[in-house]
């Protein structure tokens, strides 16, 4: 290499030119070439030294394309080369562009590594990444197991107990000739052998009614029967009510309900509505035939006599006549058209028949099933709103009078509901105790209070309390009752008025006193509590209570005669307090600086001077707690059994304490809780080999992430 370099150096530019010229001529004739060469050689000999100055030293940076490194240390830039590029016309534009792009790029490429090393390392890295990813699939399972309260090993256990018949039978085949014979017989008989093991008839019967289905149906029947009996009982009860007002209201309510239902029916079930209409027609016919509402009966005649003088009687008669008119009004037979139907319905609104028609909602067979309100009791407000809206939709253009009527009706309904509720309440309490006449009386009251329902309600309640059906047994009950009354009526009950303030300071029991702040608790404890007799709300009960109380106190007194716990406790506390106080140190020396001897005391001044008082101890924590002694001394014998530091998994002391406080033993817990609480963390089966986890335990992997995945089951050899 070095020799070659020297040779190159010795070539002068002229020579190069010559050589290149000779190359260009393409060696057409050797003779001329040869002559030239000779010339050149001869010329070489002459100017050897002169030419040599141009390239003086062997350069390291000789490029392999034999580019002269003119100034050593100078770098050849791409731009220098590109200059020549522009000049040469032959170079394609594309390459020029590429070269320009290259020129703009600043980064240099890294030194390539040796081939062997790179291959190995890359392989290893890729493989490691793959396998660590593969292993990471187990993470969920592992964390789950770590968190689990209990782990049962071996992980895959066959379910114990008897197997299902199908599972046992599945793998079985006839082997012996006898079995085969039987099978052939069965086949010829068209008897199913395999899975269902039932004849088609049996299957059908099973399909017809499975056991569960039958049970469900039976339960349904039972429920229906019970409901029916309830209804019957209710209807009977309602029928027994003698209040006319009640029945009147009930009737109105029924009519309303029916109308509403009819409205709905028109929308949902036109055929049913038609039927109803027909029924109406029938009732009209009956009305026309009968003499009802014709003012020809006994009652009507008597009213007719009275009508001259009595406004009410006159009104009643008019009502009767109107009723007749309504009932006998002709109905238009409905046609198929929707409009007609609608019109019919509108007309039907005007003439409801509530006397003769059976209740449409209820069981038509059952004569008891008549009494029912429009809606359920639970949501009276909602129903009111609903009815109002219904009215609005029904007759938008009608006058306001009708609306008023509707509202009144609503009010009535409300009343009715309340009435019924009260009644129910009473009946629940005692069926037989409420006599019938009382019921009537209430009916009267009801009619009296009709205009002011709320007020009536209050009276009603007060009445209930007066009856005294609820027996107050204990003092607590009484107090609770008292509070209830105060809360409800908001007026101070005369009997349960608060006692005079003068009494309050001294003679109330300590229980009540503690709640008041201005009183010294120490006083309360030490002073004897005088029991004062207070007039309480129900005086009869009070007497009983007092008797019981007196008895109790007597018993207690007898049992604990001569046992003064409170004073003992107070003594104890005083002793503790004294022990806590710092003692006075007396440093007086008798006879020092003055006469001493028997019967002589040091002077007062001296004593004052030499008695050292220690600073007062901090205030006791139980200073204001009369019935508590708080000792702040550390008890070392207890400390031995206490945890000094918060153990690791716990965040704070309350957590730890609550963990310890909760007992786990059978003494405090039921059998099942005990078993749950003491369940061991790891359960193993005796004599069973615990296999390591296998790929069956792995949760199924989604396919989307399986781009660069290896097959799981078989080994893919990669050489």
């Amino acid at each position: 290499m070095a020799g070659g370099g020297n040779n190159e150096e010795e070539l002068s530019p002229d020579d190069e030119h010559i050589i290149s010229a000779s190359e260009e001529e393409d060696g057409s004739d050797d003779e001329s070439k040869h002559a030239k060469l000779l010339e050149a050689i001869s010329s070489l000999g002459k100017r050897k030294r002169m030419k040599r100055t141009e390239r003086s030293e062997a350069s390291v940076q000789v490029s392999e394309f034999s580019v002269n490194a003119d100034g050593t240390g100078e770098k050849v830039n791409l731009s220098d080369l590109l200059g020549t590029m522009d000049k040469t016309p032959g170079a394609p534009n594309k390459t020029k562009q590429q070269l320009k792009n290259l020129q703009n790029r600043k980064e240099t490429l890294e030194l390539p590594l040796s081939k062997q090393q790179t291959e190995k390392q890359i392989q290893r890295e890729v493989a490691y990444d793959k396998s660590s990813k593969e292993v990471s699939r187990w993470e969920t399972v592992i964390t789950q197991n770590q968190k689990a309260e209990q782990l049962v090993f071996p992980l895959r256990q066959d379910p114990t107990g008897p197997k299902r018949m199908e599972q046992v039978v599945a793998g079985w085949k006839a082997k012996t000739p006898l079995e085969k014979e039987i099978f052939s017989l069965l086949h010829s008989n068209n008897q199913p052998i395999h899975d269902p093991l039932l004849t088609p008839a049996e299957e059908a019967s099973i399909k017809a009614m499975s056991l569960e289905e039958a049970k469900i149906r039976q339960a349904e029947f039972r429920k229906a029967r019970v409901l029916q009996s309830y209804y019957e009982a209710k209807a009977r009860r309602e029928r027994k009510i003698k209040s006319k007002k009640y029945h009147k209201l009930q009737k109105k309510a029924k009519v309303k309900a029916f109308l509403k239902q009819f409205d709905e029916m028109m929308k949902t079930d036109p055929a049913g509505a038609l039927e109803e209409l027909k029924k109406m027609e029938l009732s009209r016919m009956q009305e026309r035939m009968s003499l009802k509402h014709q003012n020809s009966g006994k009652w009507a005649k008597s009213k007719a006599i009275m009508a001259k003088y009595d406004d009410a009687a006159r009104k009643a008669m008019q009502e009767q006549l109107e009723m007749n008119k309504q009932l006998t009004q002709k109905l238009v037979v409905p046609s198929d058209d929707d409009d007609d139907e609608e019109r019919n319905v509108e007309e039907a609104d005007a003439l409801p028949d509530f006397v003769n028609d059976p209740e449409p909602i209820l069981d038509s067979v059952n004569p008891w099933m008549r009494g029912k309100l429009t809606q359920e009791h639970s949501e009276p407000e909602v129903t009111a709103v609903a009815t109002e809206t219904a009215v609005e939709t029904k007759d938008e253009g009608q006058n306001g009078q009708r609306e008023d009527e509707e509202e009144e009706e609503n009010e009535e309904e409300k009343l009715l509901r309340e009435f019924e509720r009260k009644r129910k309440l009473r009946q629940d309490e005692d069926d037989d105790l409420v006599p019938v006449p009382q019921e009537e009386k209430q009916g009267e009251r009801f009619s009296l209070c009709f205009t002011k329902p709320r007020h009536f309600l209050a009276i009603f309640k007060a009445e209930l309390l007066d009856e005294g059906l609820v027996r107050v047994r204990t003092m607590d009950d009484l107090e609770a009752l008292q509070q209830d009354v105060v809360m409800d009526t908001t007026q101070p009950a005369p009997a349960s008025a608060t006692p005079a303030p003068s009494m309050e300071t001294t003679s109330e029991p300590p229980k009540k006193k503690k709640k008041k702040k201005g009183i010294d608790p120490n006083e309360v404890l030490t002073k004897e509590a005088k029991v004062i007799k207070m007039p309480l709300a129900p005086t009869v009960v009070e007497e009983e209570e007092e008797e019981v109380h007196a008895e109790q106190t007597a018993i207690i007194k007898e049992a604990f005669a001569g046992d003064d716990v409170i004073s003992d406790f107070l003594k104890d506390k005083r002793k503790q307090e004294k022990a806590g106080q710092a003692e006075v140190v007396d440093l007086t020396l008798p006879g020092w600086g003055e006469w001493g001897g028997v019967g002589l005391k040091p002077s007062k001044r001296k004593r004052r001077k030499f008695r050292l008082k220690a600073p007062a101890p901090p205030l006791r924590k139980d200073q204001n707690l009369p019935d508590v002694i708080i000792s702040e001394k550390r008890n070392s014998s207890v400390a031995n059994h206490q945890v000094s530091q918060l153990p690791f998994p716990f965040q704070n002391s309350t957590q730890f304490e609550s963990c310890v406080r909760f007992p786990v033993g059978q003494t405090w817990n039921t059998q099942t809780t005990f078993r749950k609480l003491t369940a061991p963390k790891v359960v193993t089966k005796m004599g069973a080999i615990i296999e390591p986890m296998s790929k069956e335990d792995l949760p199924p992997v989604k396919e989307s992430s399986g781009a660069g995945k290896r097959e799981k089951t078989s080994i893919g050899w990669r050489f």
């Binding site: 290893r124 396998s131 004599g687 615990i690 390591p692 050899w717």
Partner: protein
């Protein structure tokens, strides 16, 4: 008026049969059972004391070998069968329930270096100092016939360890290289080497069954994938690891026993720092084996003890030693999680209970409930000083105790020194190095 009548239903107090236990009516009203914490505390204390009293872990010793025991293997399918290889080339098959040797085979000349059972339990493999791998039938030969291996593979160098694949007919040996063999072929189907001259142990991952790990004499642990042509990764530690064991319930965790008296649990995805450093041994740790539940592992040490570590605890929960047990070479945890087997220098295999105070045999349900309750109480009050003091107390032989104290002092001195150096140098110039970081030299990719 209500009339109250005394009514007793005999079902409430009469037993159905005379063998039933007496019915005890219970009232769970907490006011009737006061002081629950202190009562339970006393019970816990008693339970702890009883546990310590009944802690008698040693079950049996199997003697019969004429040289130190070098390797142990469990039968893959039977709990009562254990195989052991000794330093004189003898292999013995033991019946644990009878505590007797069923079969003796002169398998190799020189040490039996490794032994493993095939996954189906029909045969087992041994490797020895005579550069051979031999496959043996688990069934004894017929009367009058000699013990002959099913297959013998003659290698070029000494094999130091062997392990069998969990589900397939391939096994791995280690010596100068780690070789993967097909049972049907006499030459390895793959051999891995990564600039080391010898390996001491190779183990298959029991969960991800294509992964392997090996310990090499250049202080490194190398991971392999059987399907790849090159090893995966290498960690170089400060001292040599003797053996390692994969956790059978956690696919990516393995624990290695090291010459520096410690064990290290690694997560194979993050090899630069061990997950846990398990300290307590006072001499080189020679073998380690996981419990089949993956919750604990047992380690055998040159300091003549066996220790049981919870998998994520830095210190052992139990130490087993006897007067006559010498350096423990190999240890295995039985597949039912109940027993531990240890083979030691003085030619004996010892059988230990994994839970020292456990009652062996069947338990009645009441007994079981009582044991569970006691365990729960011990757990609940484990932080209380009296309970802890009793539960943690163990007896150690005098020399071990002294060594332990010495080590503790050395460690303390080192710590103090580091602290002083840090204190007297520019802040930040001497970084704090945690115990975990100290032991890994480098991770090579």
């Amino acid at each position: 008026m209500k009339v109250k009548v005394l009514c007793r239903n005999p079902d409430d107090y009469v037993r159905e049969t005379t063998r039933d236990i007496q019915r005890v009516p219970r009232n769970y009203d907490p006011t009737i059972h006061p002081f629950e914490v202190s009562r339970e505390y006393t019970r816990a204390l008693n339970a702890t004391k009883l546990e310590r009293i009944f802690a008698k872990p040693f079950v049996a010793s199997l003697d019969g070998h004429r040289d130190g025991i070098n390797c142990l293997a469990k039968h893959a399918k039977t709990l009562s069968v254990v195989l052991s290889g000794a330093c004189d080339g003898e292999v013995k098959i033991w019946n644990l329930s009878k505590r007797e040797c069923m079969r003796t085979i002169q398998a190799h000349e020189g040490f039996v270096r490794g032994i493993c059972s095939r996954f189906c339990g029909s045969s087992f493999f041994t490797v020895g100092d005579d550069k051979t791998v031999k496959q043996w039938n688990m069934e004894p030969p017929g009367r009058g016939l000699q013990e002959e291996p099913l297959n013998t593979i003659l290698g070029k160098a000494v094999y130091t360890g062997i392990d069998h694949h969990q589900t397939e007919g391939t096994f791995a040996t280690c010596g100068q290289t780690v070789d993967i063999w097909d049972e049907q072929r006499s030459s390895p189907i793959r051999s891995f080497s990564w600039g080391v001259d010898s390996f001491s142990c190779v183990r298959y991952n029991p969960v991800e069954t294509e992964l392997l790990a090996s310990c090499a004499s250049d202080r490194s642990i190398i991971l392999y994938d059987m399907r790849e042509s090159a090893p995966l990764k290498k960690i170089i530690m400060q001292l040599r690891s003797n053996t390692l064991c994969w956790n059978p319930m956690e696919a990516y965790n393995f624990t290695c026993s090291n010459e520096d008296y410690n064990l290290y649990t690694y997560d194979m995805r993050r090899l630069d720092v061990p997950v846990t450093v398990h300290m307590d041994h006072v001499s080189a740790v020679l073998d380690v084996d996981y419990s089949p539940t993956g919750k604990e592992f047992v380690s055998a040490s040159f300091d003549k003890t066996i220790r049981i570590f919870p998998k994520n605890s830095g210190h052992s929960r139990e130490v087993y030693h006897t007067k006559r047990m010498q350096h423990v070479i190999c240890v295995k945890w039985s597949a039912d999680n109940k027993y531990i087997l240890s083979g030691s220098d003085e030619m004996n295999i010892r059988l230990w209970k994994a839970n020292a105070s456990e009652k062996l045999g069947l338990l009645t349900p009441r007994e079981k409930a009582a044991l569970n309750y006691n365990q729960k109480l011990r757990d609940k009050f484990q932080h209380h000083p009296q309970v802890r003091r009793i539960a943690r107390h163990r007896h150690l032989p005098r020399d071990l105790f002294k060594q332990k104290r010495e080590l503790r002092e050395m460690k303390e001195a080192r710590r103090r020194k580091a602290q002083n150096v840090r204190k007297h140098s520019k802040p930040g110039s001497v970084p704090l190095v945690t115990e975990k970081e100290k032991h890994v030299v480098s991770v090579v990719e």
